[in-house]
Amino acid sequence: MGLQIVVLAKQVPDTRNVGKDAMKADGTVNRAALPAIFNPEDLNALEQALRLKDKHEGSTVTILTMGPGRAAEIIRESLYRGADNGFLLTDRAFAGSDTLATSYAISCAIKNFPKVDLIICGRQAIDGDTAQVGPQVAQKLGLPQITYAEEILDLKKDVITVKRRLEKGVEVVEGKLPMVVTVNGSAPDCRPRNAKMVMKFKHAKTVSEKQEGNQDYTELFDTHPYLNITEWSVNDIKSDADWLGLKGSPTKVKTIESVVFQTKESKKLTADDFDIESLMRELIANHTIG
């Protein structure tokens, strides 16, 4: 029996390697200075989905992402690694969404799919670290959830067994499909790109991307329909405008400040024996150590 698996993924600024030019003088974030990457835990999620596809013949892995046009990059990246197709949810109507409005839009988009057995996503995205969208999508779809998954151990008929990695231990849980699973960074890394898939999908594009290019690809896309990355706007999902974007976001940002720490007058030392010995003597004398 084939499984219909949807992987939720997000393109994020790489906040892990923030350089000195990442902040503008006015204290706002200079997004242009941060490279856009595939959210790391979403790649762990994709790997879990691909492993299920390997084991269960006839399964389909679909990538769904919400974001600006360039987020199609992570859909291509997923296709290169073995996903079957991708959907980009993109519209100005979604701008300013907090996690709740984001979850609402995503859950409406998921309802477009005729059958979904499993929704898998990263536990959290590195630009916000909130870990909220997975459980909120589950709630909006009325589905149960298993968060902090490290490995999907087994899936038989409609029962899924999952190992969870928690702060203070591990848990093995089981539940019935359909289900939402969020995957930890401690899960196995995603497989690399597959050269054949890269050849097959390198021209995969959204409608907007096709319009940007100067070349006419019409014929290519007619003869190779799998190269079409579907783009959905707000008109393609059944949603209530009151629940979308800024309007659908109960949380408001009051202020944003850049972080400034109180600097101290520090004493400069070298690695010389004399410096280190005097320091240790001082620390012992004032009972900081010992």
């Binding site: 906040t15 959830q145 968060t147 093995v172 109180q262 101290k264 024996d273």
Partner: protein, 339 residues
């Protein structure tokens, strides 16, 4: 009504530190807002919860006791909070930013359409002016949290929806007994009225919880390694030093991500917050996300190759040099002078 509610995390009958820290914060917020502090315990065998939480100033303790409610699973605990919050209408609801709170909070907020702010580092009360409509909201909860890898701090408010929900990590707030003789009221709720049987769909079939062996939070001296340590083997140098001077070993996010140290040792916004009397930062450049978790240390020593490492700005002593060279010398001269 319109009180402050704290969800209690319970492991084997013991209320988690993070919940007691939130009760401490909740007590002071309740004073400021002149409302009551409520605590909610959901689990099995809860007879011993009241004496653990009343000293923290809890006015009303809700108990929902059923053997199916422990260990924690998402849907039954969600159902209790959603219904209880609809009845009690708390203005603020707090829970730990743990694997339980971060599983439960989003689900509850989604069901109630109330905003939730994850991993707050500070909670304050203040007003908010909605400039477009010229409306002023009084006494909102300022939910203050880092964003963008810690490079900015955002103050979030939920003007129109209740409860205002926030999660806070363990160790961020201080735990303080309010009055050891304080007694509150206990209200027992019948699980049948709160949780439909259909909620018990996920079963825990195996569970290994370890009492954390690492106690970075409580250690008076913390020796911490960063990406500059270069390898997991080099961390042995720090463990060695720690055993000599009686310290605990911590790590920066970069070192944990690189596999040099275990996650439970991570210090910073996405790890533990520490306030030791001495903090020794080894090979740590000092990303904001790390500094936020250790800046309140009484004394900071930074050991780094780079004389311009950002961490030097907040250090009391800056040793410019190789960690591999400096640490053995520190051990040697400690041993020589400590007798």
């Amino acid at each position: 009504m319109n009180n402050i509610a704290v969800y209690l995390e319970i492991e084997e009958g013991i209320v988690a530190d993070v919940s007691l820290e939130l009760l401490t914060k909740g007590r002071s917020l309740a004073h400021q807002l002149k409302c009551k502090l409520e605590a909610i315990a959901i689990g099995s065998g809860l007879n011993n919860i009241a004496p653990q939480v009343f000293p923290y100033g809890v006015d009303i303790l809700f108990l929902v006791d059923d053997k199916r409610l422990y260990p924690y699973t998402s849907m039954p605990h969600t159902s209790v909070l959603v219904k209880l919050f609809s009845e009690e209408k708390p203005q603020i609801a707090l829970m730990g930013a743990t694997s339980i709170g971060r599983d439960l909070g989003p689900r509850v907020s989604s069901a109630l359409f109330s905003g939730l702010t994850a991993d707050c580092t500070s909670l304050e009360i203040g007003d908010y002016e909605e400039k477009k409509e010229g409306k002023v909201f009084k006494n909102l909860l300022y939910q203050i949290r880092p964003a963008f890898g810690g490079n900015i701090v955002a103050t979030i408010v939920n003007p129109e929806h209740r409860p205002q929900m926030a999660t806070v990590r363990e160790g961020v707030m201080k735990k303080e007994v309010f009055d050891k003789n304080h007694k509150g009221e206990i209200k027992k709720l019948d699980v049948k009225n709160y949780v439909p049987d259909t909620d018990f769909v996920v079963k825990v079939i195996e569970r290994h919880m370890e009492k954390s062996k690492v106690n970075i939070k409580g250690s008076p001296i913390v020796i911490s390694g960063g990406y500059g340590m270069g390898s997991r083997e080099n961390f042995d140098l720090l463990f060695n030093f720690a055993s000599v001077i009686g310290a605990e070993v911590g790590a920066s996010r970069a070192a944990v991500d690189a596999g040099f140290a275990d996650h439970e040792r991570q210090i910073g916004q996405t790890g533990v917050t520490v306030r030791p009397k001495l903090y020794i930062a080894c090979g740590i450049s000092g990303q904001i996300q790390h500094i936020a978790g250790m800046q309140e240390s009484s004394m900071i020593i930074a050991i780094n190759n780079d004389p311009l490492a950002p961490i030097n700005a907040i250090a009391d002593y800056v040793i410019t040099g190789n960690v591999e060279e400096v640490i053995p010398k520190m051990i040697k001269y400690y041993k020589k002078n400590s007798k």
